[in-house]
Subunit: 334 residues, 2 copies
């Protein structure tokens, strides 16, 4: 663990659907929860300033402002990000890491834009070509991390092995213990699945830094069989969104089934808490792994609490010493 | 619609975890529910006969026996199926279609074995190389059909187009209206996703027989946005099992949250019914499409009611005239 506790998170205030108001409400919630945190708000300075003026002075003192008047569109692609992104609120936030003004970045903006700008402005670790997105899923035992969540649709076996290494470093810092790594497949027997997945299994199994738990099927992820699941970005997106859709369907049907009854009414607050704890959409904050710096992608439609959770995740990764651990791992191996 | 109503379903009595007792209990349930159905039980004759002797005579008269003493192992692969499968209960059941003794086959045995034996013993429609598996998912509006569910891990755009054609013929008979066909992807905008999925979208869109609804994301499947979803077998397996895992997790947590309360106790029967209607594992019966004949794969661990549901699905496909519709479609095009 890193002993450094006072940290600064740069926040892309123009990213996400909620824009300035929601992002600043989340910043305030995160500052309230963590007295050793400062936030560098990157966005329209006068607008941010007038919101901050309403805050209690001790909180306001920990919200700094970096002026950036333009935001990127929520659907901005890589080409547009490279053309206009450098001076956007997202680009400015990322450059604060390079300038030593921030330890991490949180943005609810376009995933494609964040990927390409982070890679361009911060660079990647030696041997890592493209960043990968890692997020958390609810399980019977707590949490299972999974990557890639959609940033890399095409992968080979070497890439899946790299995801396992990137994820393992991060999850071991977050959980403070060595994670069991599983590989997503359509069966658990060694002969199952596509060639590339079986080849990736051999690479991960042979890597002495990794505690390999074998193939996992999608339902076993929620049973908490492993701590970290590795897959291509297409499958990761399908797994995550399928679970979201199924959970949403269940709660809609449950309202229809129990809604009129006294029991349904009495159970409502409990069921809502349960949904909040289980809906994968609310486990907000995906780590962009492979870039030289702590970067967290927030869901575009995240709630205030969701955005505050993403800021907290950034702080945990910084305090865990993620960048230092990545640097020593990727320098040692390559 | 086909007017033929008296039909015979060949049942692989040694397939599935429940073996003879469960399969025959399911057969009895299916016969009870459908007076125009006969079942040809393929399995150990004396064992089946002694169970049938306990049934009321009118039901027993509709259970015929075709003796087959050996079953295939639940994990039998394609090679073993070709070597030893022809005379197994599964192979005998499939051959009853060719002999004109049965209109359809239902088996809870190994998927790989059923695929290869059905292809080998019945053949495929012109232009169709390998069969695909289509199953049902629960949605807000009722049911969405999806293929492939895991029989084809590697596909190209032409294959996905073929899945759409196979699925459309079947679902239009089952639903008695033209289905809206969606293509599983990681986003709905036309530029999203892997090349092969975008190319498949162009092929399906250009096919005037298909009512194309565009790309669908995994969560939208459960919202009932389309009637039929097409995808490769790896993604289909991930989607299905992810939803199963999430639903199971939710009910486990709900029991833990509400279990001790009076409300939880009162709501229990309703919640159990809800789970039964939503758990994808219980929407039992996947249609093996592309082979010359109606073949239904049942989940190996299906309940008696689940197996009876699979037999009912076979009967619906036969009565809908599936084989005739496939024949005219695949003769007309190729």
């Amino acid at each position: 663990m890193n002993n450094r506790s006072k940290i600064t998170v740069a926040l892309d205030v123009l990213g996400g659907d909620g824009l300035v108001a929601l992002n600043l409400a989340a910043a305030r919630q995160a500052l309230d929860a963590d007295p050793d945190l400062a936030i560098l708000a990157c966005g329209p300075g006068s607008e941010i300033g007038s919101v901050r003026d309403e805050w209690p002075a001790p909180l306001g003192a920990r919200l700094k402002i970096h002026d950036a008047e333009t935001g990127l569109a929520a659907d901005a692609g890589p080409a547009e990000a490279l053309r206009r992104g450098r001076d956007s609120s997202m680009g400015e936030a990322l450059r604060r890491i390079g300038e030593g003004e921030a330890d991490a970045v949180v943005s609810g903006g376009s995933t494609g834009a964040l990927m390409v700008l982070a890679r361009h402005l911060l660079g990647t670790w030696p041997g890592v070509d493209r960043p990968a997105l890692m997020g958390a899923l609810p399980t019977v035992r707590g949490t299972c991390w999974m990557l890639d969540l959609g940033a890399n649709l095409h992968v080979d076996a070497r890439r899946l092995h790299e995801f396992a290494r990137l994820g393992r470093i991060t999850v071991s810092l977050l959980n403070e213990r060595e994670p069991v790594v599983g590989l997503l497949n359509v069966g658990t027997e060694p002969g199952k699945g596509p060639d590339l997945v079986r080849e990736a299994g051999r690479l991960i199994d042979a890597d002495r830094d990794l505690n390999y738990g074998g193939f996992v099927e999608a339902d076993q992820v929620f049973a908490g069989r492993v701590d970290l699941v590795v897959c291509d970005g297409f499958s990761g997106n399908i797994l995550l969104k399928s679970a979201e859709g199924a959970v949403r369907l269940m709660f809609d049907e449950m309202r229809a089934h129990l809604g009129g009854s006294l029991c349904g009414w009495l159970a409502r607050p409990r069921l809502r808490r349960l949904r909040d704890s289980l809906d994968p959409a609310r486990h907000n904050g995906a780590a962009l792994l492979g870039v030289r710096g702590v970067v967290i992608k927030s869901h575009g439609g995240a709630s205030t609490a969701g955005m505050a959770h993403a800021i907290g995740l950034a702080a945990r990764e910084v305090r865990g010493g993620l960048s230092q651990a990545m640097e020593s791992q990727f320098r040692a191996v390559d």
